[in-house]
C-alpha cells in the first residue's frame, strides 16, 4: 500500500472474498480490514468491492454500515461469482438477485453517501444472452444510481472503445474506466482468462508460448503490451483514467505508469505528516508532534473522534485517545521479522550501552558489529525524516552518551515551502519550526538536567517517568505549543504540529510500552537481554524539550552537553565522597 501510494492513484480497489470472512473487522486479513487499513493508514482513497452472493439483504446492509463506520466511501457493487461447483446463479433466501439490486439497496439506505461503481463487460458478461442485453443491464445499474463504471479486462483496445461508444448510444453518460491487466505470468493469465471467461487472442498466446517458463520475460512482455494499450486508450480521448488489475503486485503497474510518464512521485507534502484518506478527517490539520514517527498509531488512537482539530489543537482536556491494541491491527505490526530485529538490535544485550549503540547506528545508518544495518527502532513507523540529516551529527553525539532520541526536529526560520527537506504545503509559502528534541535518559542525567533548565527560560520542557509519578514541566497544563507552522499566500496560518502536555502523558504510556512490547519481547523470558531493556524501561525518563527562540541557533545541544558534563561532575564528587 505504502509503495503504491507514492504514485498517487486516484483510488485503489480491495476485492471482496466471500470465502475469507470479508466483513470481519476483527480479522486483519479480511477485505473490510484491509480496505480500512489502505484508507486510514496508507492514505489511499479506497473502493471496496461488495457482492450479493450468499448474503441476505440485512447482512449486506450490515457490511455497508461497517464500511461506512470505517470511513470508506466508495463501493464497487457486484453480483459476485458463482460459488465453486455451482453452474447457475441462485439467490440467497432474503438476498438479492443482481448487482442492480445492490445499487438500489445502497441508494435507498445511504443516499449519496457512497460513490457507487459498477462493472462493465466489453466482451459481454459471460452469463448474458447477448452483448446488447448486457449493455442494457449496465444501463439499468447506472439508472439505479451508479456513479461510474470499471470494465472487465480486455485484450484489444478496439473492444473497449466500441463498448464505450455503444454505452453512450444507449444513454450511459457516467465515466467508464478501462480495466487493464499487465500480464505477469503464464499461469496467472490463464487463471484470469478462465475466471473472466475470456479468450486470450492468438497473437498473445503465440507471443507468450515460447517464453512461458521465463517469468521475467513474460513480465517484460506484459509491461510492453500494457504500455502500448494504455497509450492507445489515452490517445483515443475516450478514457478519463485507467484502472489496473495488479493481482496484488505493484511492480508491473508501477513500471507501466513510469513508462507512460504518469508516475509522479516527487510531490510536495500537503502537511508535514502523513495524511489519511479517510473523509471524516479531511479537515484535520493539527497533530501532537509525539506521534510524528508513528502516524498509524495516531490514526488508530484517534479513530473514534467525531471532530478533528483544524487551525488549532484546542483544549487538550477534551481529547480522549483509544487504547493501543496492536494485536488487532495487522497494519501496525512491525514490518520486520523477529529474526531480522534480533540481527539489527543484537542477539544479546549485556548492558545499557549496547542499547545506546543501536540508537547511534540507526541514526547514522551504520552497520552494527554483526555487519547488519539498523533500519528500524520501535518508535518509528517509517524511515528517518529527511530533515533529520540537518541535525544528525548532534543527535549521534548525544545518543552515544545515553541520550536516546526518539523524535526531533531542527529549528527552521522562514525557509521556502518548496524546500526538499523541510518544505510542505503550497509553493510561495514560508516554513517555521521550533527546535524539538524527545529522548529517554537515565535518572542521573535528569538530576543534572533539572539543575540546568532554569537558566534557559526560552525552553519548554516536560520530564516524565514510566509510571507518571515523576512529572516535571514548565508548560501551561492546557496550553499547546505550536512547533511547526507555515505562512502561505492568501491563507490563514497553518500550524500542523504542536506539543501538548496532556497528550504527552498519553504518548508516554505508548513510548514506554514499546520498550517492552516491541523490544524486550524478542528475547527469551528471564534472559539478560530482556533485563537490560526492562531496566531502561523502569529507570529512564522520557523528556521533551522545545526551544521557543526559533530565530536563533538552538540551545538544546548546549543544554544536553552541559547536562552530560554536570552528570559526570556529580559522579566524580560521589566517587570522591565514597573513597574519602
Amino acid at each position: 500500500f505504502d509503495r503504491l501510494r507514492r504514485g498517487r492513484p486516484l483510488f485503489c480497489d480491495m476485492t471482496w472474498h466471500p470465502k475469507g470472512d470479508p466483513s470481519n473487522t476483527e480479522k486483519p486479513t479480511s477485505s473490510t480490514s484491509m480496505a480500512s487499513n489502505m484508507l486510514n493508514y496508507a492514505g489511499i482513497e479506497t473502493m471496496l468491492h461488495m457482492t450479493c452472493v450468499g448474503l441476505t439483504t440485512e447482512q449486506m446492509k450490515e457490511n455497508l454500515y461497517k464500511a461506512k463506520n470505517l470511513g470508506i466511501r466508495s463501493i464497487l457493487a457486484l453480483r459476485g461469482d458463482l460459488p465453486d461447483g455451482v453452474d447457475e446463479w441462485q439467490k440467497t433466501e432474503g438476498g438479492l438477485d443482481y448487482a442492480v439490486d445492490l445499487v438500489r439497496l445502497i441508494k435507498e439506505e445511504f443516499g449519496d453517501y457512497f460513490v457507487i461503481c459498477v462493472a462493465g463487460y466489453p466482451d459481454g458478461h459471460p452469463e448474458c444472452k447477448s452483448y446488447w442485453e448486457d449493455i442494457q443491464h449496465l444501463k439499468d445499474k447506472v439508472d439505479a444510481g451508479a456513479d461510474l463504471i470499471i470494465t472487465q479486462l480486455f485484450f484489444k483496445n478496439e473492444t473497449f472503445l466500441k463498448y464505450v461508444s455503444d454505452c453512450r448510444k444507449v444513454g450511459i453518460t457516467v465515466p467508464i474506466l478501462p480495466g487493464v491487466l499487465p500480464i505477469q505470468g503464464y499461469k496467472s493469465l490463464s487463471n484470469m482468462a478462465k475466471l473472466s471467461k475470456l479468450e486470450v487472442p492468438v497473437e498473445i498466446i503465440e507471443a507468450i508460448q515460447p517464453i512461458k517458463n521465463n517469468d521475467q520475460a513474460i513480465r517484460q512482455y506484459g509491461i510492453f503490451k500494457a504500455v502500448e494499450m494504455c497509450r492507445g486508450l489515452l490517445n483515443s480521448g475516450m478514457v478519463p483514467g485507467i484502472h489496473f488489475y495488479t493481482l496484488n503486485r505493484e511492480k508491473a503497474v508501477t513500471q507501466v505508469l513510469k513508462e507512460l510518464g504518469l508516475w509522479t512521485e516527487k510531490i510536495q507534502r500537503p502537511l508535514p505528516w502523513k495524511q489519511t484518506a479517510n473523509h471524516n478527517r479531511v479537515e484535520e490539520e493539527v497533530r501532537p508532534i509525539f506521534w510524528r514517527c508513528r502516524p498509524n498509531s495516531y490514526v488508530l488512537r484517534t479513530s473514534e473522534w467525531n471532530e478533528f482539530p483544524n487551525g488549532r489543537w484546542g483544549d487538550s482536556r477534551a481529547a480522549s485517545f483509544n487504547d493501543l491494541k496492536t494485536y488487532h491491527l495487522f497494519y501496525l505490526k512491525s514490518k520486520s521479522t523477529k529474526d531480522q530485529l534480533l540481527k539489527m538490535w543484537g542477539e544479546e544485550l549485556t548492558c545499557e550501552k549496547d542499547v545506546w549503540k543501536v540508537f547511534v547506528n540507526y541514526l547514522t545508518g551504520s552497520a552494527n558489529e554483526q555487519g547488519v544495518k539498523v533500519t528500524r527502532v520501535p518508535w518509528d513507523d517509517d524511515e528517518i525524516e529527511p530533515e533529520t540529516s540537518l541535525i544528525c551529527e548532534n543527535l549521534a553525539r548525544i545518543n552515544e552518551q545515553g541520550v536516546l532520541t526518539i523524535n526531533s526536529q531542527p529549528r527552521v526560520n522562514g525557509t521556502p515551502s518548496t524546500d526538499l527537506k523541510v518544505g510542505w504545503g503550497s509553493p510561495g509559502g514560508y516554513i517555521y519550526q521550533k527546535a524539538y528534541l524527545e529522548f529517554f535518559t537515565s535518572k542521573e542525567n535528569i538530576v543534572a538536567l533539572k539543575e540546568i533548565l532554569p537558566r534557559y527560560p526560552q525552553v519548554n520542557y516536560h520530564i516524565i517517568n514510566h509510571s507518571g509519578e515523576a512529572d516535571y514541566t514548565n508548560c501551561d497544563e492546557y496550553q499547546p505549543i505550536a512547533v511547526t507552522w507555515g505562512v502561505f499566500p492568501g491563507k490563514e496560518i497553518i500550524q500542523p504540529t504542536v506539543v501538548d502536555p496532556e497528550a504527552f502523558k498519553t504518548w508516554k504510556d505508548e513510548a514506554f510500552a514499546l520498550w517492552l512490547e516491541a523490544w524486550a519481547s524478542i528475547y527469551p523470558k528471564d534472559s539478560e537481554s530482556r533485563k537490560v531493556i526492562q531496566t531502561i524501561h523502569d529507570g529512564y525518563y522520557l523528556v521533551n524539550l522545545v526551544d521557543n527562540d526559533f530565530p536563533k541557533e538552538s540551545v538544546l545541544w548546549d543544554i544536553l552537553d552541559e547536562m552530560l558534563s554536570l552528570r559526570a561532575l556529580h559522579e566524580e564528587v560521589q566517587t570522591a565522597e565514597r573513597s574519602s
Copy 2:
C-alpha cells in the same frame, strides 16, 4: 472612559440614577447604556449600581436581565437614597425593602453569574440605630451572597481600619475596599457630606475655609490629602485595593495614582487591537483588519454573536453583522463638533483635490490652509497607530495623488513582541505582518491598477465600488488571509487580524457610507462641498491589497507608483486622440 482606561482600573462603577430613566438602553445617557459603553467600547470592567427604590421585583429583574444581556457581570446592590422630600423609607408595592433583599434576588435569579458588591458604612448608616446593628446588616448582606464590600467615604483612616477590624470580628471575610474621595471643591464636598450625612472634620474645614474660592488650591489640597490617606491605607496591609469617588472627573484620581506610583500606563497591548471588557468576548482573538481603526463599530456590529473567533477566523459565510445604527450609540458619535470638523476638513470644498489634501494633512499631522490640524477622518475612531509612522512618507506621497488610504500596515518580519511600534502580546515573542493597504481611488486609477496587478502574483487584491456591482478579487472567496500574527513561547500561533473577502463586502458599505454620513452631512444640502463628496462616493472604488511575501520589501508602493504612471499615460493618449 478612554482616559481612565489607560490607568488600568480593576473596575469602574456606574451609578444608578432613578430619575434619569436608568434602565433605558435606547437612551444613550442612561446608567445602563453608559455602563455598557464603558464595558463594551472603552474596555473597562464595569460595576453597575442598582437600587430598590421605586421599583417592583419584576422591574428589578428586568433591569438585571438587561445588564446581563449587555455583558455586565458586576452589580453594586443598594437600597437607594430616599426620594426628595421623603423622610422615611417606604418600600414600593411589590418591591423590596433592603439591599439584602436585592442580593437575595440576584442570587436566586442569576446564581453566580453576577459578582455582587454591597456598601459598608464606616461611620454607620445614617438611618441605622447603632454602629453594631449596621455591621450586622452588612453581615446579613454578605451571608446572602455578596462577594465584596465598598465603603462609603470617610475622612480618617482610623475610622476605616477600625471598621474593617469590627467586620472581621463578626465573621465578615470578603474583601473590603475603602472609598476615598479626593476633595475637588468646597461645594462638592459639602454636597457629598450632606448626601452621606457625614460630618466633615474640623481640621479639613479649617484647611479649606481660607481657600474656599480658589478651586485649584482646593483640588491641590484634595490630592495631597487623598495621597496621604491612600499611603496610610496601603501601608496598613488591611486593604486589597482602593475605590475612588471620581465625581465624574478623572484628573484628581489620575494625579493621586501617579503620586502613589500606581498609574502604569505603558503596558504591552495584549493584542494589536483594542479589546472590550465584555466577558462574552473573552476568547475573541481574531478580527478582520477592516475595522482596525473603528473597533467600536466592530464591537457594535458583532455584539449579537454567540461565539467569537478564537485561533482562526473560520468560515466567513457564517458571520452576520448587525446594521450600523450610529444614532443609537452615544459612544460612537464623532468626538468633534460639526464646527471643529468644518475647520479641519474645510468650510468649502471645490474639487476632489481639496479632499485629497485633508488625507495628506491627517497623515502628516500638518495644519491646513486655515492653520487647523486635521486630527480626525471619518474612518478612524482614534489617533493614528504608531506603526503608521514607519510608512508615513509613502502614504503621504500616494494620498497627494488621489490614493486615499483609510487603513494600512507595514510588513513586519519577526520583530520582538516588545517593540514599541508593532509589538503586542507577552514578551519573548516575535511579530509578523503582511504589508496591507486599503484606499479609495478613482475609476481611472482602477483601470490602470487592473492592468498592473497580474504581474504581482504575490499580491492579493479586492476592488469594489459602492454598489458592489464592480467586484474584482483574486482571493479565494471563503478563505481568510492572516495579515498579522505572533509566535510566542509556550503557545499556539496567534493571528489577530485577517483579510476576509466576505467581511470586506460588509465593511465596504460602512466605508462608503461614512463619506456621506460623516463628511457630506456637515455641509448644507445642495452645496458644492456636498456634491464633491457625493461624486467621490459614487465614482471612487475601495481597494485592499495584501503583499503575501512578508520577508521581502513590500511591492505595494511599486504597484501604486506604476498605477499612477500608467494612468497618466492613459490620459496623455486620450488627450492626443481627442486633439488629433
